[in-house]
């Protein structure tokens, strides 16, 4: 991946994207999920990560995602949820970056895989922090929710990317 220069345009775009990701994250934080197990959420800010991944590149997606996790947890989370979020977020972006190069995949499949990897990364982090493998009893539920939520945010990102492409084409 070519690492292009830090142009003012790129900085401004990434800053805007970070603000958007934070806003989506906060909106989601306010909504009750109703899930019997904590940690199940849609992951709306993944839409931003995907759009950046496809439009700009890995570094922008990674930087925005890491900053989003750090800022959101500084604002309304805890150190523990920050570690969770970082482990899941970084793994997911790396995984989606690798998969997004495959022509046979659309953002929906890429995001579904990213959702699963995100949840598994968080589980691994929890197991390490606790020094206990008991948390792996959550694995099946988190695989399911990762696929479903990932596919949904992937579909939303695919819509955004289509809209951006058709506007650029004019």
């Amino acid at each position: 991946m070519k690492r292009s220069a830090l142009t003012p345009r790129r900085i401004a775009t990434d800053g805007l994207m970070l603000a958007l990701a934070l806003a989506l994250n906060y909106a989601e934080h306010l909504l009750p999920t109703g899930a019997p197990i904590p940690g199940i959420k849609l992951g709306l800010s993944n839409i931003v990560a995907l759009v950046l991944l496809y439009r700009t590149g890995l570094w922008d997606a990674l930087a925005v995602n890491v900053l989003r996790v750090v800022l959101s947890n500084a604002l309304y989370g805890s150190l523990f949820s920050m570690l969770y979020g970082l482990s899941g977020g970084i793994l997911a972006v790396l995984c989606m970056a690798a998969l997004s190069r495959a022509r046979q995949l659309s953002p929906i499949g890429v995001s579904a895989a990213g959702g699963v990897v995100h949840n598994l990364g968080q589980l691994g982090c929890a197991a390490l922090l606790l020094g206990s493998t008991a948390v792996f009893s959550y694995t099946p539920v988190l695989v399911l929710s990762g696929v479903v939520c990932g596919a949904l945010t992937g579909a939303a990102a695919a819509g955004c990317l289509r809209a951006l492409r058709s506007r650029a084409g004019k």
Binding site: G39, Q104, I108, T133, A134, V135, T139, P140, L144
Partner: protein, 115 residues
């Protein structure tokens, strides 16, 4: 959506569903692991386990986290557990509550680890 997308989603759903539906033994004991160590309690004897920061309640063959002083309160949102292998985790306080089966047919080793 392309064919490989469908395959990824289908495999994920199938894997999760099958794993989720795997038969689990009924619980017999409650393992409470804290930073101080781990303790076992019988599942079918009502009890309140007072920990620094958390209150675990065993009642009617179910275990739930009654109260916790952690900021998130995620463990309080967890549904009560009763089947072997299920667990409730309070990450900030490093408390892991796990239901363990009665028979020593292997699963007991899964929750192991130095306390």
């Amino acid at each position: 959506m392309k064919r490989l997308d469908v395959i990824i989603i289908a495999v994920g759903l199938l894997l999760g569903a099958v794993w989720l539906l795997l038969p689990r033994g009924t619980g017999a004991f409650v393992c409470v692991q804290t930073q101080q160590g781990r303790n076992l309690y019988p599942l079918f004897e009502d009890a309140e386990i007072v920990l620094p920061g958390n209150l675990v309640v065993i009642s009617g063959g179910e275990v739930r986290m009654e109260s916790a002083d952690c900021p998130g309160g995620d463990c309080l949102a967890h549904a009560p557990i009763r089947r072997a292998g299920e667990s409730i985790v309070c990450l900030p306080n490093r408390v892991v509550v796990t239901v363990e089966g009665g028979k020593s047919d292997g699963p007991d080793a899964v929750t192991g680890g130095a306390a």
